[in-house]
């Protein structure tokens, strides 16, 4: 068989697009971890490697979130059952803490490795 003009074109275009995808996904991968906090009125991103304490206003009062040592946790919350405090520290991408009564959601974003438990095909 003879390889035709647009066959080369197809191969070159493919290599170019694959390289673009590679660059894009590597860039995505190198992003730092961030704590994404959503309240009933707004949302924020904080880098996980800077220690700080954040006060979030919700319908019940103030939820206090601490970011420390590359982890995030709720240290105080006005909700009745304190489940958000019991959830402890989250450190990995994809983990989250929710406080439903005070409408606060904290999740870790950034590195792309959100762990999938199991895939079956």
């Amino acid at each position: 068989m003879r390889i035709k003009l647009f066959d080369y074109f197809a191969i070159i275009t493919s290599i170019a697009i694959i390289t673009l995808f590679l660059v894009f996904s590597l860039e995505n991968q190198s992003r730092k971890l961030q704590a994404h906090i959503v309240s009933s009125s707004a949302e924020w991103y904080y880098p996980l490697d800077e220690n700080r304490t954040i006060n979030i206003r919700g319908p019940l009062g103030t939820t206090i979130i601490e970011i420390k040592d590359n982890g995030s946790r709720v240290i105080d919350s006005p909700c009745p059952d304190k489940i958000c405090i019991l959830q402890g520290i989250i450190r990995e991408s994809g983990q989250w803490i929710a406080c439903l009564p005070n409408q606060v959601l904290i999740s870790i974003k950034g590195k792309i490795e959100e762990k999938i438990d199991e895939i079956s095909f």
């Binding site: 066959d7 493919s14 697009i17």
Partner: protein
Amino acid sequence: MKSASNNSKKTLNLVSFLSALCLFLSLIEYIIPKPIPFMRMGFANFPILIGLYLLTPQMVFLLILIKVLGQALIQGTLLSYVFLFSFCGSFASGIAMVLLSIVFKKNISLLGLSVFGALASNAMQILLAVYFVFGDSGWIIASPILIIGFISSIILGLFAQTFFEKSIWIKKVLKAD
């Protein structure tokens, strides 16, 4: 061209045969263990490549539809998001290949069509993975899928083109028209 009824019967035979071949090849492919769940060699696309040269665009899409539905029934993924992936991927590649074969006509062989088809299908599936199912973690699978798909599409395209030129069966089918 012979009479219309004769011709449509032949087309029907050809579509049925190529569909059956698709499903058979999917089964063969299913036997091969996969290191990554989504990864497939794409043997099942061989009849579609051949179909590009033997069938009208409508019939190519019919063939792809039968392939996608058949594969989903065999693998039991008809009602899962895997089916959405396979459906969109197959049709993206089908549309790309049909359009390119019309635009470039004699200047492109099954090799180029196969490479473009694989690219369209994989890119579509990655975009779906990122935007609908896995979020940003979909990017992990992007590069390996594209690279493996690229290599396997070259092998498949070379094989399909050689087969198309050498096969006695293809000569018979073309002559019968």
